[in-house]
Symmetry: C2
Subunit: 349 residues, 2 copies
Amino acid sequence: MTAPAKLPLGSSLSEFALIESYFKQGALAMAQTARVATNELTTIALGIGDDCALLQTNGSEILAISTDMLLEGRHFLPGANAQWLGHKALAVNLSDLAAMGAKPLAFTLALALPASDTVWLNNFSTGLFQLATQFNCHLIGGDTTSGPLTMSITIIGSVGNHQALRRAGAKLGDDIWVSGCVGDARLALGALRKEWSISDLALAEVLPRMHLPTPRIDLGLGLRSLASAAIDISDGLLGDLRHLLRASHLGAVLELAALPISATLANQPEIIRWQCAAAGGDDYELCFTAAAEKRDQITVLSQTLSLPLTRIGYTTISTEAKIELIDSQGQALDANKTANLLRSFDHFD
Amino acid sequence: MTAPAKLPLGSSLSEFALIESYFKQGALAMAQTARVATNELTTIALGIGDDCALLQTNGSEILAISTDMLLEGRHFLPGANAQWLGHKALAVNLSDLAAMGAKPLAFTLALALPASDTVWLNNFSTGLFQLATQFNCHLIGGDTTSGPLTMSITIIGSVGNHQALRRAGAKLGDDIWVSGCVGDARLALGALRKEWSISDLALAEVLPRMHLPTPRIDLGLGLRSLASAAIDISDGLLGDLRHLLRASHLGAVLELAALPISATLANQPEIIRWQCAAAGGDDYELCFTAAAEKRDQITVLSQTLSLPLTRIGYTTISTEAKIELIDSQGQALDANKTANLLRSFDHFD
């Protein structure tokens, strides 16, 4: 239910937010009039509006389910490396499972291809199955047809009862954390789109972060007992954090300078640096909230996973999911600067 | 895992059969090297190659899962009625559940649209939710984006342990049955494609069978304890029966004149009549096998559901899924006639 940063083609994203809300309303209206499921049946624990839907089976298990569709020209450039595409198509779905604290189980693949190109298929399936094998996530079904290059994956994972990391669980005063570093994928995309120019060396360093994101599955599993809420960063940290805050009916204070960024991004001009880190998408890191007393355990988890986990702010009272950006001295950032950042986030939401 | 009859555009279907087998091999290779799932986890009971995949949860339940992708110009004509499309996109997936004897539970929808057209969306979602409500099947998630009109649905249903109707269960000497009547959808498609002309009245009678197929969910549930194997007819009776026979390592004798057809189709010239009935696709009826001693119970089920169930043949020994067509006197059909029929089936497989 997340998708990589959209290329600037076709209709605006706000239109498609409208469409999503359209189907959400239909689904809710139907749920309200539906017959009550019996105890024998699997029931829907969580519908549209989180990283995954949750299905309660009649055992102790909950299944987490998510769907993403990637189109050529919209989510990736024509002629994109097929092996990377195979990786990324599955990675963005695995990332949704990670954000729910779910263990990968299986996926289906619907694939439309302009022609049966065996070289392309070899490369695509290599990237796909390498990642699938790494996370023990099995291809269980699919559909192939001829058409404009399109891949739609539905992924299924498993969480125990009451273990799922929902967006709505954050509490007032919780720390806000982010994994890894953010902004490199956006830096690479901007360079490819000639929004800015960076050195060949810098591009070589950040391109893998755009093309071969690492889904944070182990982190999601480790956070089951630690985090109060989580979301994966597909649209950009500010935008995705806002989804979490809205679901939790909270606001946030965020220290801009605390955002973890790579040395490559740190070398860029300030406006690019913070636009990429705060508002860039496609990172597939996890942003999560946790009570302050979990800090030591989270530090241990970070060491266990050899994955930086950085505290970047805390939740506040706000009915509008307001995010206040502060500097390292705790002072509110210049209003224009904040507005610039939020504009750029809105553009890529 | 079934799709409506493809329009004659783009690459040939045999190429895409190749692709499917490609991913199937990758999935099998991965399964062979995968770590053994623990008892606590949901496990994969059946992977690629049936109407649905089956997931064994840690309760008594098995989940049936299927994916289909529909593209404009490939599976439906540009400008197709949006409400019918909403119906059909879900119906073809429900039909996969029916063929497994599964009870519908939930689905995800990935939708690419050229533009945010509210009239189209209203109509599409009306058709979609009407059918979803009828079968108590809930939209639990999805993804929307701009792009060539494409809809990909993944559906999830529920079957009890050892209740799923697999393709591989047919026994030697079992009766072969088919529900409803077959061939009307193909008659309509051929008329729209000007392969033949039929009267306006005839077209009006068969068009709903093409655009608004009825998934045979109740039949699938009723057959759980009666049928030995089942498949839904999406590619054509002969082609789909052959899938079932291949999975069961059997052949079949089929009485062509026994195929249940509508009065409209019965009025067509013989070659059209039998091509549509035996080799046409898009019917979404169920073809199933059952032991002879189940005949009375199947007749009762037919009456209960007010749905004709017709015995059209029986299974035989064959290592090549051979289907022998006979006339009403039990005589083998003329070889040329059979070849003609089988060629037309191959064309639309």
